[in-house]
Structures are given as structure tokens and as C-alpha cells.
């Protein structure tokens, strides 16, 4: 029973990682950039949700939508100002810019509101627990899981059934050819950043409810772990990010459950290195031979 309990916890946590990882994977798939600022977009989403609930007094869903909208705009602004001028620069220059943007978001937040943590209101979701064969599943984790699943299905729909999704897939496959076929590459990249950041914003609100404590530097570690999740599934592959996130969450919960909770963060990175060594393209990726 203990094991099933841990599995349920792991899946809830994993769905948060998966939501963040989707943003990493989409951006990487389209511009080959590790967007280090993504974890901080997640943090901003969490705070927008928090202020929406405490100051505007709205419920869970309006707060979620507000956070997603704010993060979508933030993601697009970051892309326009910081990444677009560097489209043709070296990879390392873009990466350093991303690190700079990440630090900027963190410390502007601290400047604006101080570094003290904030407690998320706990009355946002129904407190009722579900008991199934002796396993207690909190209403919260079901809610979290449900919201994440809906968002993921929505993303799959956007990517596979809409025009912008088709454009995104085309640009990710070959940006030059897509441009020749009349696809507006810049708009497509903007849309990718917007969607990815909106998912991170949603993850931020959910994370706040799950862990109840938020602070301006909270994006760093979940951001890195979500990145590990994206690599685990095969970076650039959307279903890979979902599976990678869920898998990472479950593994982490099991490690904590076995009593090694202090090593939990380390395990994520050990998995990362093992995956990179034995299957660098990730679980779902194919190895591409480099051409001369």
C-alpha cells in the first residue's frame, strides 16, 4: 500500500515536471536553445497565481488562466528582446544570454517584492480525500493530475490538429525550408515560446498549491529537473517530455520513500548522466548521424 501511495505522489509531482519540461522541449525542438529562463517563467507564473488569489480573490481556474496568460506574454517578450537578435550567433552566446535573462527575472522579482517566501492559500482546492482499498489519495493530487492531463491533451491537439501546430512542426524539422514554403518562422517561434511559457505558468500555480511555499528562487531546481525530464524522454519530442516528467517524479518519490530523501535531487542528475551516456538521444529519440 505504501508503494502505491508513493506512486500516486510521484505521479502528481511528475505531472508538474512534465508541464515544465514541455516548454523546454518545444523551445529546444524549434530553436535548439536550452532556455535557462524557463524555470523563472515558472516562478513568475506561481507568483501571478498567488497574487490573483490573494489580491483579486479569484478561484483556482481564473488564477490558473491569468498565470498562463501572463507567462505567455513574458515568454514572448523574452524571446523578442533577448533571443531573436541572436538567431545567427553562436550557441554559447545564446546560452549565456539565457543565463543572464534567468538571473534578471530572479533578481527583479526580489527587488520588487523582497526575497521572503510566501504561503499559498490552502483553501483553493477541495480538501476531501479519496480512499481506495486503503490507499488515501488526496483530492488535491487528483485535481493536479487532472489539470495537467487536460493541458497536455490540449497541447497535443494544438500541435497535431491546428495550423500553428503544423507550422511549428515544420519549423522544427527545417526552418529554412519552412520559410521558403511561406511559413512565418518568427511568428511560429513566438507562438512556441508563448505556449511553452503558458504551460510553465500553469505548472507554477499547481506547484504552489502542492508545496504551499513559493519564493523568488524556487524556479531553479524544478527548472533543472524538468530539463532532466526533457532529456530523459528525448529533447524536442513532446510525448517524451511527458513520459520523462512522470518517470522522474515517480523515481524521486520512490527514492524519498526508501528513506534517501536527502539524495533525491542527486538521483535526478545521476539519471541524467546515465541516460546521456547510454542513450544520449533519450528514451524516445533516434540517433542522428552527423554529416560532414
Amino acid at each position: 500500500m505504501e508503494l502505491i501511495q508513493q506512486l500516486v505522489n510521484g505521479i502528481s509531482l511528475g505531472s508538474i515536471y512534465a508541464l515544465i519540461a514541455l516548454g523546454y522541449t518545444m523551445v529546444y525542438g524549434i530553436v535548439r536553445l536550452i532556455n535557462f529562463a524557463h524555470g523563472d517563467v515558472f516562478m513568475v507564473g506561481s507568483f501571478v497565481g498567488f497574487y490573483a488569489v490573494t489580491m483579486l480573490g479569484v478561484g483556482f481556474f481564473p488564477a490558473l488562466l491569468l498565470a498562463m496568460a501572463a507567462c505567455a506574454v513574458l515568454g514572448m517578450v523574452i524571446e523578442r528582446i533577448a533571443y531573436k537578435p541572436l538567431r545567427n550567433a553562436t550557441r554559447i552566446a545564446v546560452l549565456i544570454t539565457a543565463i543572464g535573462v534567468s538571473l534578471l527575472i530572479e533578481y527583479v522579482t526580489i527587488y520588487l517584492r523582497g526575497a521572503q517566501p510566501e504561503a499559498y492559500p490552502s483553501t483553493l482546492l477541495p480538501e476531501r480525500n479519496l480512499e481506495l482499498f486503503g490507499v488515501v489519495i488526496s483530492g488535491q493530487s487528483l485535481f493536479i493530475l487532472g489539470t495537467s492531463l487536460v493541458l497536455m491533451v490540449l497541447l497535443q491537439f494544438i500541435v497535431h490538429r491546428t495550423k500553428i501546430g503544423k507550422a511549428m512542426r515544420a519549423v522544427s524539422h527545417d526552418a529554412e525550408a519552412a520559410r521558403l514554403m511561406g511559413i512565418n518562422v518568427d511568428n511560429t517561434i513566438s507562438a512556441t515560446f508563448a505556449i511553452g511559457s503558458a504551460l510553465a505558468g500553469a505548472a507554477g500555480v499547481i506547484f504552489g498549491i502542492y508545496y504551499t511555499k513559493i519564493e523568488p528562487l524556487m524556479g531553479i531546481l524544478p527548472g533543472l529537473k524538468a530539463f532532466v525530464a526533457a532529456v530523459l524522454g528525448g529533447i524536442g519530442i513532446i510525448p517524451g517530455a511527458m513520459v520523462g516528467g512522470l518517470l522522474l517524479g515517480v523515481i524521486e518519490s520512490l527514492v524519498s520513500g526508501l528513506g534517501y530523501s536527502l539524495w533525491r535531487d542527486g538521483v535526478a542528475f545521476i539519471i541524467l548522466i546515465l541516460i546521456l551516456i547510454f542513450r544520449p538521444a533519450g528514451l524516445f529519440g533516434k540517433n542522428v548521424r552527423e554529416k560532414v
Binding site: 553562436t90 549565456i96 548522466i273
Partner: protein, 324 residues
């Protein structure tokens, strides 16, 4: 005479360096430099060693490593264990730090250097975090509260380490091995096709780079009384990476200048704690937007002087129209 002409620049620099050493030693001994300036100077030197050692890995060999703080941490703790737990002299601690970091470099380098570009970057980032988390969980070295270390770092030690680092890495760069490394940076597949043992050189550069990062760690540990795992997070790795990239990838003097400059900037910004990181990150973004090749590009300071160029082309390695 021909030998003199070729090595003139080298000896002039060494003599200038020793003159600088003597002046600073005299200033410290006479008490003209107060503790604040001495601290800044030591911190600058440690950062220069770190920047130059990472420059060998990223700037020369083109291996994108962003876990350098991991080697720094290994060195710091290894030397602290040697001097504080085993009561050995500082010199032994220093060598142990280098050796331990080099070993760590080999352990991480051999398997992961098969990875390329971003993947290597992620793997090294993961390695840096693993080192930090491992140190947090080992009670022998104090866990999260860290270790207290006696103050043993003195100016002669700092200067000697700095000089050795720069001479070794500059000479390595200009040797056959260095050329092989540069060819790997320019095009790994072509270098491989030309018969260069790319894995060997990548691992060698990684090992040398991490050795000196370990030395820097030992100097750091014995200067700051206390070392904690939180000093060696990935933000520290980013700091070192920023020295190298801001100075100009592939430029040794660029890395040195950037390390000195940024240490100064962050020291003086410490009076404005709330805006310090904002200014720092804005500078970073603006430099990358308007000068993505870094401040110096691939040029060396010496190539700004005509007479050096006429002599031997200085240390101006790397072609003009290549992309790192």
C-alpha cells in the same frame, strides 16, 4: 639570438610578473594594502585561475563544460581534508586538490566526452550538481554547515599558482597538443579524419583544466575560513563560464581580463546588494546582444602591439573566420 627573439616576449612577461609580485608583496608587508584590497586581490587571482582553466576546455578545445564549480569544490574539499583532518602541510593539500580534481575530471570526462555540444553541457552541469549534493550529504566534511579551514593562503602561494597556471596553459596552447585541441574546436570530424586522436586530446584538456580548477579550490578554501557546499552551486559554474565567454572564447588574455574586471565589478557592487545582480545580469545580456563574440573576440592583448605580431604572431591562435 634566434632563440632569444622567439622567447623574448615570454621572458619579458615573466620578469614583469615578478616585478608585480615584488611590488604587491612589499605593499602587503608594509601594510599599505588593507585587508579589503588583499581579499579582492586574492579573489581576483583565484577567479583568473578558474577562468584560464576553463578557457582551455571551452575556448581552446571547444568542449562546452558548465560544471566547473564541481572541480573547484572537489579541490577545495580535498585540500581542506588534507590540511585540517590529516594535518598535512598546505603544499600537500594543494597538490592533493589538483590530483583529486583531475581524477574527477577523468571520471566524468572519459565517458561523457563522447557527447557533443549541448549534451556535454548538460552532463557537466549535472556532474557539478551531483558533487554539491554529495558534499551536502557526507558528514565527514560537515554536510550543509561545511568545514572550517585554517587561513594558509598567502600572496606567494597565490602568485605561484597563478603564474604556473598561465604559463602551463599558454605553452600547452602553443604546442603541438594545443594545435590538435584547436583543430578539434574548429571541426571535430575533420580533425578526426586528419588522424588526430580526438578523444585523447579532449580528455587531456579536461584533465588539465580540472587540475587547475582544483588548485584554485585549495586556494579558495584556505582563504575563506569556512567552505560550504552552497558556495559551489551551478551559479559559481556560470560565473566562471561568463569570465571565459565575456572575455572572448579562445582568448587567454580575454579570460584573464574578464575575470579581473568582473571580480572588481562585483566587489564594488556589493555596496548595493539589491541592485547588484540586476546590473550584473543586464551587463551580461547587453554584451551578448551587441558583442556575441565577447569583449576580445579571439585576439590576445599582445596582438594589440605591432612588434609582437612581427616577431612570432604572438599567441594569436585560431583563424580569423572560424566559428567556435
Amino acid at each position: 639570438m634566434a632563440t632569444w627573439k622567439r622567447t623574448r616576449g615570454f621572458w619579458v612577461s615573466v620578469i614583469l610578473a615578478f616585478a608585480f609580485f615584488a611590488v604587491v608583496e612589499w605593499l602587503i608587508a608594509s601594510g599599505t594594502l588593507n585587508i579589503f584590497y588583499v581579499n579582492t586581490l586574492f579573489f581576483m587571482a583565484i577567479n583568473v585561475i578558474l577562468a584560464v582553466s576553463l578557457h582551455l576546455i571551452i575556448g581552446i578545445t571547444g568542449q562546452f563544460s558548465i560544471g566547473h564549480a564541481g572541480f573547484f569544490a572537489v579541490g577545495a574539499y580535498a585540500s581542506a581534508i588534507m590540511t585540517m583532518k590529516l594535518q598535512l602541510p598546505f603544499a600537500v593539500g594543494l597538490l592533493a586538490a589538483g590530483a583529486a580534481a583531475m581524477l574527477a575530471g577523468l571520471i566524468i570526462g572519459v565517458p561523457s566526452l563522447r557527447l557533443k555540444g549541448d549534451y556535454l553541457a548538460i552532463a557537466t552541469l549535472g556532474f557539478g550538481e551531483i558533487v554539491r549534493i554529495a558534499l551536502l550529504n557526507i558528514d565527514y566534511v560537515g554536510g550543509a554547515s561545511g568545514m572550517t579551514v585554517a587561513h594558509m593562503t598567502t600572496w606567494p602561494w597565490v602568485f605561484a599558482c597563478l603564474l604556473v597556471t598561465i604559463i602551463v596553459i599558454a605553452n600547452f596552447t602553443n604546442s603541438t597538443h594545443g594545435r590538435a585541441c584547436i583543430s578539434i574546436r574548429e571541426d571535430e570530424i575533420a580533425a578526426d579524419a586528419m588522424g588526430i586522436n580526438t578523444t585523447y586530446y579532449k580528455v587531456a584538456a579536461f584533465a588539465i583544466g580540472s587540475f587547475f580548477a582544483g588548485i584554485a579550490g585549495a586556494l579558495y578554501a584556505h582563504h575563506f575560513y569556512i567552505i560550504q557546499p552552497s558556495n559551489f552551486g551551478f551559479l559559481k559554474s556560470f560565473d566562471i563560464l561568463i569570465f571565459v565567454v565575456l572575455g572572448g572564447l579562445g582568448s587567454l588574455s580575454g579570460a584573464v581580463v574578464a575575470a579581473i574586471l568582473l571580480t572588481l565589478v562585483s566587489t564594488f557592487l556589493q555596496n548595493y546588494p539589491e541592485t547588484r545582480m540586476i546590473i550584473y545580469s543586464l551587463v551580461l545580456i547587453l554584451v551578448m546582444l551587441y558583442r556575441p563574440t565577447g569583449l576580445m573576440g579571439k585576439k590576445e592583448l599582445t596582438s594589440l602591439f605591432k612588434w609582437r605580431k612581427a616577431a612570432q604572431g604572438g599567441m594569436n591562435h585560431g583563424g580569423k573566420n572560424t566559428v567556435a
